[in-house]
Amino acid sequence: MVKNAFIFLILIGVAMILVNLFAGFTGNVDLGQIANHYVANGPAEVGSANIVTAVVVTYRGFDTLGEVTILFLSAAIVGFFLKIENTDNTERNLKYTSEILNTASQVLVPIMILFGVYVFINGHLSPGGGFQGGAIIASGLVLMFIAQPKKEIGHKLINIIESISGVGFVLMGLAGVLFAGGFLDNNVIGLGKFGTLFSAGAIPIIYIFVGLKVGSELTGIALSLKENQNEA
């Protein structure tokens, strides 16, 4: 009873704080100074039609680097916790899947992968980018695990792709230091014509690396949660 009253008090307190924070908030009428700079000069400086992408990849590139690191750490910890204890897979049986789902997944998985690649290659023109594309690719592979239990992807291949794309991402950043203004500057190669597929300098290349890295990390998490399912 005391505990419930205590929880109730905490909730009321948080509600009061939040309401007070936003009570005087009447809404913006114009962009702030920094946002105004990003929107007004973004197309000329970065060449990206999607301002959010410009902010994520170049103006605040270190955020992205930190985020990719956190994701890598969490994937590594999940894999470490759930690593396979008994290594003999000989008696591993999988449930029978329906034939229709199997056939449909064989058609759908390549389409989903293509769509994921489309999302991260067009990250500077349309909504999307490395994280979303990586998540879509990982979902496609999860669909493959579910619908076709016989097909397997090794952990080793995923680790190789992840390492290569991580190194590539950092190298692109360092190339920005060497040949242009700073870490992750995308003026390494020319900006190209605004609004076309080959534009915005290095943003598509960086997003390809981010997408492959995020995709392989999320697939790794799903795979380590799926494996050794018959251990008990």
Binding site: N4, I7, I10, L11, V14, A15, L18, V19, F22, F25, G27, N28, V29, D30, L31, G32, I34, A35, N36, Y38, V39, A40, P43, A49, N50, I51, V52, A54, V55, V56, R60, D63, T64, E67, I70, L71, L73, S74, A75, I77, V78, F81, L82, L125, S126, P127, G129, F131, F194, G195, V214, L218, I221, L225
Partner: protein, 124 residues
């Protein structure tokens, strides 16, 4: 009253309410997985709150294609910075959720129980 009824205020209200519901679930539930669900709801509420702060009336998404005039863009689009922050926050939220769930699994392997009342090892 009617002039208060705009999309921004609705978004702020929904965000605050979802945060409170998530916190309530986090504090009152006894099942470990339900606690993680409460945490995920808390996350979603924070994201809704942050995105609604960046919204500006009668403006469109910060993507400059044919529908938006580039020279006049600063007068036509909403604030991109909260959106960029939320973008990273969602992905990190997934990583945290996966981590918490693997802890839950490990705890279950030790004690064969999901009830939080059975975990009293560090209680003082």
């Amino acid at each position: 009253m009617m002039e208060k009824l705009n999309i921004q205020n609705i978004g702020l209200t929904v965000g605050i309410l979802v945060i409170l519901v998530g916190l309530w679930g986090l504090l009152t539930q006894k099942n470990l997985i339900k606690i993680v669900i409460g945490f995920a709801l808390f996350d979603t509420g924070t994201h809704i709150l942050m995105v609604s702060i960046g919204y500006i009336k009668y403006r469109t998404a910060p993507i400059l294609d044919e529908a938006v005039d580039i020279r006049n863009a600063a007068k036509l689009v909403v604030d991109p910075i909260p959106q960029a922050l939320v973008l990273t926050a969602i992905v990190i939220g997934l990583g945290i959720t996966a981590l918490m769930l693997s802890y839950v699994l490990k705890m279950y392997q030790n004690k064969k129980s999901l009830e939080i009342n059975n975990y009293k090892d560090l209680k003082w």
